[in-house]
Symmetry: C2
Subunit: 666 residues, 2 copies
């Protein structure tokens, strides 16, 4: 009991600091009406979207709760609801603060970086700390009440089903607005990004928040919980209670490490805020390694080194993946410059180059993930711990520093929006320059989170995959059996299919958005002259409705296909299905994120003056590449982590039930 | 012995008919100097390319022969060489006839379809019959001499290593020329396709032959042999000699069925040549089903129904996949029209739509392949035959009608080139119309072969995968073991990586081609006025050299990675590696072929008058999509079948040796 209470205290500290930082951020001044007006438009758009999203999700959650109660038990159903609520609360909190912090950062930017940077970072930290705090408290309390790890699977399922819809919905929303705004604003009317005359600009900014803040928050909440739950399940099946509680204590240790690391995130006037964020991450990593060592010795695990080294394998792999995954998308790298160079022959070769380098970019990450797996497995088995438990612990090790990682990541869209506020208020060039510098640091943090999130998701789903095998009790998942192979093919098909559906959704909605923007420019001539305000709400509405409507089919697919495969072909085929979806899910997630980032930076490289600079034919070609990459990197790619997590959890939760009714056991 | 001789007679009949058709085609008149000149330019370009390719391959083949002799034995080494030579001979014969038939078809087209169609089809049949004849004779003779199925694996490896390089090299050649010719000719100088003033037009036409005739011939030769060999290996391990010879007899039966089917390929004046080709395919299918029934009863197999039904499962699945796989790329389908509609907003959304529908299009094919597997497995095991043997026999059943399928496919590029000849000779509109009609039928045949080839490759590699497990003697390929999972990830990474390398090659070479074409137009002003001939040979050279140089890296990858994985991680990991590469190989092959076809047809839909027709902004956007799709559907996509076959064969051949030296057995 003492260890459960320790974990609970860790979560409580996280929430307390989050509350303190929240009040500190809200106490910061924001005295420009123009900035506040811009910020309020984003706030109300974001609130409107989230309200609609949560209403829709409430129905879904109730339906799933009823099904879980009937099929599994009321305990899991309650855990499911609590998981969905905690995940939603973390995402909501993050977005609530983010949409209020932007104007405050912009106002502080008038006094320089030293003043503005903490406002942005601490606002981001509110979400970072809420994510880990709520997750840890939720899991620990449920475990204290029910003492049953299978119930906690329900909590994880609640978190991930909400994350899937928040992430995919946010991704569709943000790219609908972004592409729509660009296609009409930039291409047809030659407006700048964020020009307030463009009716879709507010929707575009709202999109940054619902996609990059709420979406990422829910996503990492989901991975974090899933990795801990997988270890708890395996610990309960294979070992004693110490092995079940271990991941919760790692979580608490990670919170302490993150809080210490955050103290090192500070920059002087003229300093580099990106460096400050990286210092915070590295300090957190080292402190956490020390804490993990202490935890393994104190908690009474029979083979402390057998869990310590896998934890460190995951932690190190996560940091390496984070810091190296932007190699291919780095603007100074030949892949980006080569792609930009292809723009001279028009968009076709540019698309082909970016597509190809995107595919090449998966190689180092896959090698890194494979290396982490092998390291965790070998060190665990060397000290007499089951390899599956070792790999799962590596995922927790990687995700333990989530508090710091998410804080740095959420900082990005806040300072990005701050720049929008400053521009809307026609601030001085110096203030804009400060905002730009803050924004550049945000992009670095975002790149790190991207590599980190995919690596963590890969290890987490492998852990969930082991948890599935154990809870369902499969004898063997032999690739020589036809059921496993057929399952493998069907599973492998899911991530590309899901990606296609979400991208098609963006295309359809962007089309509607384009028509609405054109209509406003045509029917309301005052907009262009700046005398009449555009009807931003209509654009937010189109993005919201589109996103929610388009979620139905991919959401159903994610929830129902694992059930269908299990019921038709049996639990071995379902195991193959999960393995197939994990493999292509990770490959497509990496490919899409990197190809998208590469096209984005190829465009920036040209905008910085290469190949004729802005306005040249090469630039037009690069804009095409960037638009193609937008839904890759911000809609389809980031949803895939969550998709495979949800499918693994559906399989683990319902596996024992459906396996009884399989039609053909292949 | 009587059954071996029967198989040999089947192969002999095939070659005899091929020889007769060859002399018949060569005896056809071709009396236009302009046509002959155009045709001869293609002949000499194609011969120059093939000579260089075969020279390069000779070195590789000798090196591999030495390695096989040292590592495995001289028997396998001889089989390897014979396999490479037979495959090369089939591809060379096909191209030799094709490049000579085009002018004859064009000349006959002046007398109408009824006269021209047989010239094109019988010229294609020379390759179709050579492929199956040489394959069957080669395998049967080697089996009669050595009576060892592992030796025949060497024959298959010879065929597939040649096919990989012929296919990938041809794919790089053809798209280098095509994209180069289009980017300068169509986009910069507003020339028509096939305008003789464009220096790259001859290279473009040569490319059609080296890619679509020689490449496809070597590719299907390879699948055909691999499917038969896999069944022979499994038959030898699991059962009696009847089960080893059975696939050879199916091959002989397929030849008889194809010869009968070919008699039904005839059309009257005003008839539809596409319908004639389809009739031939359907007749072949039904006749073959009857022959298969007789073979299973006569050959003395202990469970005739247990092999008959799997054979039929494969056959039916192949035909269904062939006839349905062009659903998504059909110009009358909403996917194509929807993509074409997106062209109105520019190239970006068009690319996204085509990309997405390409991903959606894998779903029905994967379901079809999974269905064929389940049907073969269930029917085999129902009659007491091992499921792995059943699935492998399904692959042979599917590929038995190869003679007819390849005949119809090779017809395509011949009549396509015939149109080029007619245009070069400034023939009447009526002759061009006849050529167009012949060409349209060729496109239908090509679409059918595409679906058929991918389905056949999928079942074949699954058969090879089973053969690998048996020859190497793995205990289990359990997805819960880390070696298998790490192997799965590494293998799954290979097809996307390989695709990226070949597409980047095309980009690089097309760039060189563009510069050469621009240089010629600039330095030799007479070209544009039509008074001086362009230097076509330089362009053929650039495409040839580029293709050969760019083959080195992907070729090494295909041959060496399976060895490296096996040596480092052991035979279980290598099994996972093969499974991973099969899954993503098939998914990427389907996706790339279909997305490419879809963009191609979206462009044609606009050229037929939709959304402003030729010259409109929508058309320009569609041209971008078509260019992006070119290396998808003609370079990367079609090479993937062969890539996974080669990797499976390397693993099977060298597996027993490398498994002894594995560093870490995970």
């Amino acid at each position: 009991m003492v260890w459960e209470i320790t974990a609970l205290v860790g979560g409580g500290v996280s929430m307390a600091v989050a509350a303190y930082l929240y009040s500190w951020v809200m106490a910061q001044a924001s005295e420009s009406d123009a900035m506040n007006e811009f910020s309020e438009a984003i706030q109300s758009g974001a609130a409107a979207y989230l309200k609609r999203l949560f209403q829709a999700l409430a129905f879904l959650a109730i339906a799933i709760t009823v099904i879980i109660t009937a099929a599994i038990g009321w305990q899991s159903a309650i855990a499911y609801l609590v998981g969905a609520i905690c995940s939603g609360a973390a995402a909501y909190t993050g977005m609530y603060v983010a949409t209020r912090a932007n104007a405050r950062v912009a106002w502080a930017a008038k006094s320089g970086i030293q003043k503005a940077f903490p406002v942005g970072f601490y606002a981001g930290s509110v979400m970072g700390l809420s994510v880990v705090g709520l997750a840890l408290i939720g899991m620990t309390v449920l475990y204290m009440i029910f003492h049953d790890t299978e119930v906690i699977l329900g909590f994880s399922f609640g978190a991930s089903s909400l994350a899937l819809l928040a992430k995919a919905g946010g991704g569709i929303f943000t790219k609908t607005a972004d592409i729509g705004a660009d296609l009409v604003g930039k291409v047809e009317f030659d407006l700048e990004e964020d020009d307030p005359r463009n009716p879709a600009v507010i929707a575009d900014n709202v999109g940054d928040n619902v996609g990059d803040v709420a979406g990422v928050g829910a996503d990492i909440f989901d991975s974090y919980v899933a990795s801990v739950v997988a270890v708890m399940v395996l610990g309960a099946v294979l070992y004693t209670e110490e092995y079940v509680i271990y991941p919760l204590l790692l979580g608490a240790g990670g919170i302490i490490a993150s809080l210490i690391g955050m103290m090192f995130v500070r920059t002087k006037e003229g300093g580099d805020p990106g460096k400050a964020l990286n210092t915070g991450t590295l300090v957190t990593t080292f402190i956490f390694a020390g804490i993990a060592l202490i935890v393994t010795r104190l908690v009474g695990i029979s083979s402390p080194w057998g869990v310590f080294w896998p934890t460190i394998s995951g932690l190190v792999a996560g940091v390496i993946l984070g810091f190296t995954s932007d190699y291919f998308t780095d603007i100074n790298n030949h892949a980006v410059q080569d792609t930009a160079g292809a723009a001279k022959t028009g968009p076709a070769i540019l698309i082909l180059q970016g597509f190809s380098y995107g595919l090449v970019s998966i190689v180092p990450s896959i090698l890194g993930i494979a290396g982490a797996m092998v390291a965790a497995w070998v060190t665990a088995t060397h000290f007499g711990i089951a390899g599956t438990y070792g790999v799962s612990v590596a995922a927790v090790g990687m995700l333990s520093i989530t508090g710091m990682i998410v804080s740095a990541d959420a900082y990005g869209p806040i300072v990005d929006n701050a720049k929008g506020c400053a521009e809307a208020a026609h601030e001085s060039a110096e203030t804009i320059r400060v905002c730009d510098k803050l924004d550049a640091a945000g992009n670095t943090a975002k790149a790190i989170t991207k590599g980190f999130a995919i690596g963590a998701a890969a290890l987490t789903v492998l852990a969930l995959f082991s948890a599935y095998s154990e809870t369902v009790g499969v004898q063997s998942l032999d690739l020589r059996s036809p059921g496993v192979v057929v399952g493998l093919f069907l599973g492998a098909m899911m991530p590309p299919f899901f990606s296609a559906l979400t991208i098609l959704s963006v295309g359809r909605n962007a089309f509607k958005m384009v028509e609405e923007i054109r209509r406003q420019f045509k029917e309301i001539p005052g907009i262009m002259e700046g005398t009449v305000k555009p009807d931003s709400n209509r654009c937010v509405d189109i993005a919201t409705q589109g996103a929610l409507k388009e979620l139905v089919l991919p959401g159903m697919l994610a929830l129902l296909t694992p059930l269908a495969v299990g019921m038709l072909l049996g639990k071995e085929a379902l195991g193959g299905f999960l393995a197939g979806s994990i493999v292509t899910g990770i490959i497509f997630a990496l490919f899409m994120a990197n190809a998208g980032g590469l096209w984005d930076n190829a465009k920036k490289f040209i905008e910085d003056g290469a190949h004729g600079g802005p306005g040249s034919e090469a630039h037009k070609a690069a804009v095409v590449g960037d638009t193609v990459g937008d839904p890759f990197k911000d809609t389809a790619g980031p949803s895939l982590n969550t998709l495979i997590t949800v499918m693994c959890l559906v399989a683990s939760l319902f596996g024992p039930v459906i396996a009884k009714y399989a039609l053909f056991g292949l």
